[in-house]
Each structure stands twice: as C-alpha cells, then as structure tokens.
C-alpha cells in the first residue's frame, strides 16, 4: 500500500524570501550611496568634474580633462576662471561653454530637443527590432502548419506524375 507522501516545497520557492531580502538590501544601499553627500568640493575637483563632462572640440572622443589640444587647454583655463570667480555653478559653466562651442562640446548629450534623438533612437530601434523578431518568429511558427492551396497540390501532383519511376534501380 502506498502511503501519501508529504508535500515538499520546491527549493526555488523555499529561497524566494532570501532573494527578496537581498534585493531590498541592495536597493537600500544603492539609494543611500547615490544620495550621500561627499562633502564640499575643492576648486580643482570642480574644474576636473566639469572638464570631464566637456569634449575637446578638435579631438575625437577625448574629454577636455585629458586633452592637451590648444582648444581644450583654452576651455580648461576658462572653466578654471569661472570656478575661481565663483559666480556660476557647474551646470551654468557647462551651459556657458556649450553656448560658445555648441552641443558638440558635451560628452553626454542633453536629453532635450534634437539631442534627445541620441537617447530615443537606440531605444526605438531596439523595441522595433524585438517586435520585428517576435512577429517573424510567430509567422514562422504559423507557417509550420501551413495548409497547401489547391494550386500547390496540383503542382506537386504534376511533378510526381512527371517523375521517372526507375529511381529505385541501382545504376550499372
């Protein structure tokens, strides 16, 4: 006689509270880390931070911070002057340089206006690609069970009728 076996929980179900706890702890730590003030910045730290956000206008992909090109050095000097003057915050200094040299001087494009296409287009392309792939896979699955039309049947019948019957014979 078979006795009923006690219902045992799957190991995956058993561990889900632990995973949830870890998730909550991770989110909390990230929130605390992101919101923590690092204390007041020195002038040099501000200059470095700003110049790391600006692209050298005459180089390919280099920031003003690392570039030694004449235009980059000029911008670095201007940022240093603005920081020393203490009349503008970092965003205003970046905006001032952008106003003079145009949006190409921003290493990270803004998320507004025409520049926002840089952010919107890749996401749009990704979504469209995923949608296209999903549609294609669905169509392929549907086509596996495709019913041949009368024309298709007639074509196959015609080809079978035309086929020579000696295909089983071994040559020679």
């Amino acid at each position: 006689m078979n006795l009923p076996r006690p219902r045992s929980q799957s190991p995956r179900l058993k561990s889900w509270p632990m995973w949830m706890l870890m998730g909550i702890v991770t989110v909390c730590l990230l929130a605390i880390g992101a919101g923590r003030e690092g204390g007041p910045l020195t002038q040099q730290e501000r200059i470095d931070g700003i110049t790391k956000r600006l692209a050298c206008p005459t180089c390919d992909g280099e920031s003003v911070f690392v570039s030694q090109a004449s235009a980059a050095v000029n911008i670095k000097n201007e940022v240093a002057r603005q920081v020393a003057a203490g009349q503008r915050d970092d965003e205003q200094i970046v905006a001032l340089i952008e106003d003079r040299f145009g949006g190409r001087v921003l290493l990270v494009p803004r998320a507004t206006g025409f520049d926002s296409l840089v952010w919107v287009l890749p996401v749009s392309v990704l979504v469209c690609s995923v949608a296209g792939l999903a549609a294609t896979f669905r169509r392929w699955r549907r086509e596996q069970g495709l019913v041949p039309s009368d024309d298709d049947r007639a074509l196959v019948a015609q080809l079978l009728a035309e086929e020579p019957e000696d295909h089983d014979e071994v040559p020679g």
Partner: protein, 194 residues
C-alpha cells in the same frame, strides 16, 4: 482569412523585399543628395550664438604692448582674424588679408583688422609678419579667453563686428579678399539702412 498557400507566401515575401529594397535605396539616394547639395564652399556666415548679439568683452594687449579693448573701438567696423603662424591655412590666406588691408587703408573709412594670436609665441608671430608683411595690430590671447569667448576651436577664423559692437559674421577657414569685400559691402549697406 485568405489562404495564400506556399506559392502565394513566397510571392508576398518577394514583393515585400522589393518594397524594403526600394525604401532603403531612396534613403541612401536622399543622403547622397544632401551630401552633394551641402557644399563646403558655401560661404555664408558660419553658425554662432553670437551672431546678431553684442560681441564678448575683449581686453588684452597687442604685440606692441599697447592696451586693447574692443568696447573702445565702437564706431568702426572691426575684423578679428584668429591666427597661428604655424597653421597652413593661416599662412595661405595671409596674402589675401594683406591685400584686403591695403585696400581698406586706401578707403575713406577703413575696417580695423586685428590678428588674434592663438597658441603662438610673440617672437614667432613677429618673425612671420616681418617676413610676410601685414601692418595691423596683433592681439595677444595667452590664456585663450578671447578664443573661448568667440567659440573658436580651430584657426583661421574671421569675425566681423559692426560699429555698434554687434557680431555680424563669422568665417571658419581661410578667407579671400574678394569674399571679405563682398560680405563687408553687404553688411555695411544693411547697417546704413537700419
């Protein structure tokens, strides 16, 4: 739903491929047309947020150790040529600037031409002008503040500022005497009609 069958499906796919290929072809053709139409020889003023606005404050010294302040040049047409003695286009355009300056000097109300020295030493600039002529003032920009104020990244660049101190034109790259004469005449006519 209409049953297209295997043959119908193949025909449909073939038609769709032709449509996609045509669309891609049209887009590529449009890009090509844009490239051909947007000629780099188009010598209208280059873009700048300063155009039509008051020129930035410019205070410096000249190579002759004289004080220079742009605001004190009100009442005159002022032309800034950002320059470096080792830059090839700057050297190529120099005879054109000399010819323009000589023609302006002969005119009743000449345009004031200034070279703004970009990342260059006094001695190199002096030697260049001694060898190649050019009897106009050269403004120092040792800390690059004038270049940044005008948004100049590469030389040569030429800017025209009207007698009210407003920026009217920007040329990126080498200029010619004829181009400067033509644009200056247009600007002066528009200024007098204001």
């Amino acid at each position: 739903m209409r049953d297209r069958g295997i043959g119908g499906s193949t025909a449909f796919r073939g038609r769709r491929s032709s449509v996609i290929a045509t669309a891609v072809g049209i887009v590529v053709a449009l890009f090509f047309i844009v490239l051909v139409v947007s000629s780099p020889e188009d010598r209208e003023s280059a873009a700048s947020p300063l155009l039509g606005n008051p020129a930035p404050v410019v205070k410096s010294t000249t190579l002759d150790d004289m004080q220079f302040e742009l605001s004190r040049r009100r009442g005159s047409w002022v032309m800034f040529n950002f320059f470096n003695s080792t830059c090839v286009p700057c050297r190529q355009e120099h005879p054109e600037l000399v010819a323009f300056h000589e023609a302006q000097a002969a005119a009743g109300t000449p345009t004031e031409l200034y070279s703004v020295i970009n990342d260059d030493s006094d001695n190199a600039v002096r030697a260049f002008f001694e060898a190649n002529r050019g009897d106009w003032s050269k403004i120092r920009d040792d800390d690059g503040s004038i270049a940044v104020a005008f948004g100049v990244a590469k030389v040569p660049e030429t800017w025209i500022i009207d007698p009210n101190g407003y920026v009217r034109m920007r040329f990126i790259g080498a200029v010619t005497k004829n181009l400067l004469d033509e644009k200056l005449t247009e600007l002066q006519a528009a200024f007098e009609g204001m």
